[in-house]
Structures are given as C-alpha cells and as structure tokens.
Amino acid sequence: MGMTMTQKILAAHAGLDSVEAGQLIEADLDLVLGNDITSPVAIKEMEKMKVEGVFDKDKIALVPDHFVPNKDIKSAEHCKCVREFAYRNEITNYFEVGEMGIEHALLPEKGLTVAGDVVIGADSHTCTYGALGAFSTGVGSTDMAAGMATGKAWFKVPAAIRFHLIGKPSKWVSGKDVILHIIGMIGVDGALYKSMEFVGDGIQNLTMDDRFTIANMAIEAGGKNGIFPVDDLAIAYMKEHSKKAYTIYEADEDAVYDEEYTIDLSTLRPTIAFPHLPENTKTIDEITEDIKIDQVVIGSCTNGRIDDMRIAAKVLKGNHVAKGMRCIVIPATQAIYMQAMEEGLLKIFIEAGAIVSTPTCGPCLGGYMGILAEGERCVSTTNRNFVGRMGHVNSEIYLASPAVAAASAIAGKISAPC
C-alpha cells in the first residue's frame, strides 16, 4: 500500500521500509522544542529520570517566548529555570530575550527545521514546520522530557486528509483565509488524529509565510500535523536560512486518504472566525451587522511574519486607527522586527496610532500585553478564540488575517480592505 508524505517521513525515522495508518512506531527525533511555560514542567520530569544530560545538545531548542520579557516574578522563575537548564546542558539553541522570537517563526528562520525532519515540540503549534515539508507535531511536557533524554518518541502513524488547492487567491486573501475556510468546512475536530496534506497547483500562488500560517493552524482542526510538498520556493527558503541537509519525501501515487477536498483559492473571500471556536467562520460578505471592536492584535506564531507586517502596513499607511481603538502590532522575531524597521513599516504603524511590541506570545493566550475586559471585542490575527482566551470570560475574539485586522482597526468595526 502506498504511503502519504507524512507516513514516508515517519517510516524513514523509525528505520522501517513502510508503515500504515494506526501502526505504533518509535521514531528518531531531529529536534525537540520547548518554551517558558512547558519546559519547566519537562525539566522537572527529566530530572526524575535516571539519565545523564540530554541526548544531543544541538537538537534541542529552548525558546522562552510566552511570558517574556518576564511579566511577573513567577514567570521570571520559570525563565530562570529554563535558562539554567540550557546553560547546564550546554544547549546550543537557547534563545535569550534580544535574540529570540516566537518559537514557530524563529526556528525556520534560524534554519533549525528543514524538509524531511521529525520534530516534536511542547507547544501545540509545532505543526508549523510542515510548511517546509517536515513532520512536526505538538506534544506535552512529559513527551518533551522523554524526547530530550532519549532523542526518540513513539507515534501512532496517522491517516490523512488531502486538500487539493487550485487557483490563485485574490488581492486581500492570504494563508489565514485559506486555513480559516478549511477549519470552517471540516470543524475543529475535522482532522482529529490525522495528517492534513496540502497539494495542488494553487500552492505555487502561496508565499512561504502563507504556508507557515496554514500549517500552523492544522491543530485548530484537530490535526496531528499539516504538511506541504517541497517546491522551489521551499528549497530557496531553506537554502537562504539553513545549513542543515534536507530530504524531500513525496507521497506515493497510491497513498490512501480518508477524505479529499478541492479548494479553489480564487473563490475564497476574507474570512473571520467568530467567538468562541475557530470553526465559526463567516466571509466578510456574510457579515451584515456592524461589529464594533475595542482592540486589534497583529502578530503571533500564526501571523507575525514579514508578509503579515507588510500587508498590515499597506492597509494602515496614511490612515489612523479609530478613536478608542488599541492596535497592538508584534513582529514575531527580532529579524522580522529589524526588517520591518528597515522597510519603514514600524513608522507606518506608529503614525497610524498602533503600538509595536518586542516579540512575545503575550496577548494571544491572555498572558499579558493586551488583556481584554468584560464585554470587550478584539480582532486578532492569532489562532484561538476560545472563551476567556485573551482575558475576561465575557470578552470576544474574532480571528482574521492581517489585512482584515488592520482594516478593522481603522474602521473600529470588522471590515476588510477594498
């Protein structure tokens, strides 16, 4: 029986000629990731294990990004725990404030994830690296601990859903609209335990940043991973960012898929997920009433990359955010921040009445830097609009693209650029 792209990567890392959906395997890991929230729990677990140090100091990435710069004393203690562990174990890829970024924007940019890799991360959005043709998936802290100690993890080989992307998206439609459309179509558990494999000619019309956004939100459909074929654009990205050798895996022609969907990108419209689930989607044309907004967040591991900054700046340029609007822009890494500065984007944001923050996950998970009060509404380019996710249980989050977020900041209500 033929294998999907994901199954081929897993088979190769388990030392097997072939695997099939449902099979339990133990696979070698190319990278183990943790952040300031999940790593302290993993470190505590690892210390209980009778092991000496980590399996490979070059294959672990520790990225304090959620509550940094330290938001309070307890967060500072967590970050200290991660920092001391990194120094003690001489972890090569520990990223301090000043050199860090939001983990899933940072790792590809630093060249730490490439095609053909198997990556686990104690963060659910670890699935982002599928944009480069890697198998990557989120796990908990105990799995991270076992991964750091042994360099291995067990997996149930996933079945797959195939999405044929065709056509070219129209002007203000980006990767965020594609993935919100898909989640709206299949639901937040539509891909539960499965791979989401994206194929088709339409992919050539998606930038790398679009693809990172799409793979990033595979978890919001319950997916184990999201993955793209490796094309010239992905190869060029890896050559620019990484010295690591990459391996290209292609799905067999007779690979088995549980479900198949075809999506014509040219028909998609700016799409917004209403409270309180990413599957509650409406296109901008389906919104008939005015939905007043108090805050806009443009950033996160989903939409804090340079394309996102450029799109937001294009919309905000020469405009000003609505009276009473708090618009928070967060470039996802120091390099993106620098690039945005050199391109004059930060000036556009500030002149438009937005604020620009150092890289942090902060507002996305209601950590700090943009908490919502009771009854407040936020349009956010982040990935979850669960109850209380960004603050008070009676606040509301509308997930959208950077274009919609920026236009909404100007209008003071949910809007899309014309």
């Binding site: 729990v41 307890k74 908990g140 105990t142 319950g222 998970l365 209601g366 109850v387 996710r389 249980v393």
Partner: protein, 162 residues
Amino acid sequence: MKAAKGIVFKYGDNVDTDVIIPARYLNSSDPAELAAHCMEDIDKNFIHNVKHGDIIVADKNFGCGSSREHAPIAIKAVGISCVIAETFARIFYRNAINIGLPIIECPEASKGIENGDEVEVDFDSGIIKNLTKGTQFKGQAFPAFMQKIIAAEGLVNYINQK
C-alpha cells in the same frame, strides 16, 4: 487497578485547555495551585463542588487547543478519578496518560450520562456503570502497561521502575 467511582460533572463539545486551566495561571506549574483554578472559565462552581474521586464526562474533542500538560495535571490534582468523553484531542490524550490521569473514550457513555449521576468505571474491563440510572456502557479496557503507567502516577515514574 482500582475502579473509579464518583459524581459526574458533565460538559459539552470542545472543552479546550484554556478553560480547563486559563493561561493567566500558567506562571505556575505547581499542581495544587493549578488545581485551585481547574475548569474556572467554563464552570466557576466546579472547584467548590468537586470531591475526591469525582468524574468528568464530556462530549466531542475534550482537551482541544494548547498542549499545556498543566490541564490534565490540574484535573488530576483536584481529585478527578477519570475523564470519559466521546473523543479526546490527541495531545491531551497523550498528556493525560503520561501524567497518570485515567481517561476513556466512549461515545455511548458520554450520551447516556448526565450531570450529577453517580458513575463507576472498571478499568480492567472498560465497563462504565451509571449507578443513578442503572445503565452500563462498554468503553475500551485499559491495557496492562497503561494501567501500570497510571499506577506509577505517570510515564517517568513507570520508566524509572522498569
């Protein structure tokens, strides 16, 4: 492995890890501190009413969202003896077993059990009894190695014992 027996707290579809333990409390990883805020954003009364041994029953996709292991840690630390759901989100499923919180997928039980029912779960057979209604359901039995992980209070202790 000892059967679980307790009063049911019943929830619907897509109970996410943000409502199980809101991120504003993730500046701590202390189980007791996490337990004090367990289910806070979906059920403010939960923490005041829950007793040691009680059971959570939910519909589809329990534990979706963030990979925070703090979520099953909080549920376990508050004294919940078992979580039954129609389906679980995959990271939560893995995390629950890894930290030694028994969980069972059983769509029939999830439909046939209501808030406040008294329920008993036998892990050897996978039999779930609704003592209030006098009905019973067959969930998946816990394989021996999984029972040992639960008994050892998690994967790490289990590995160390081997």
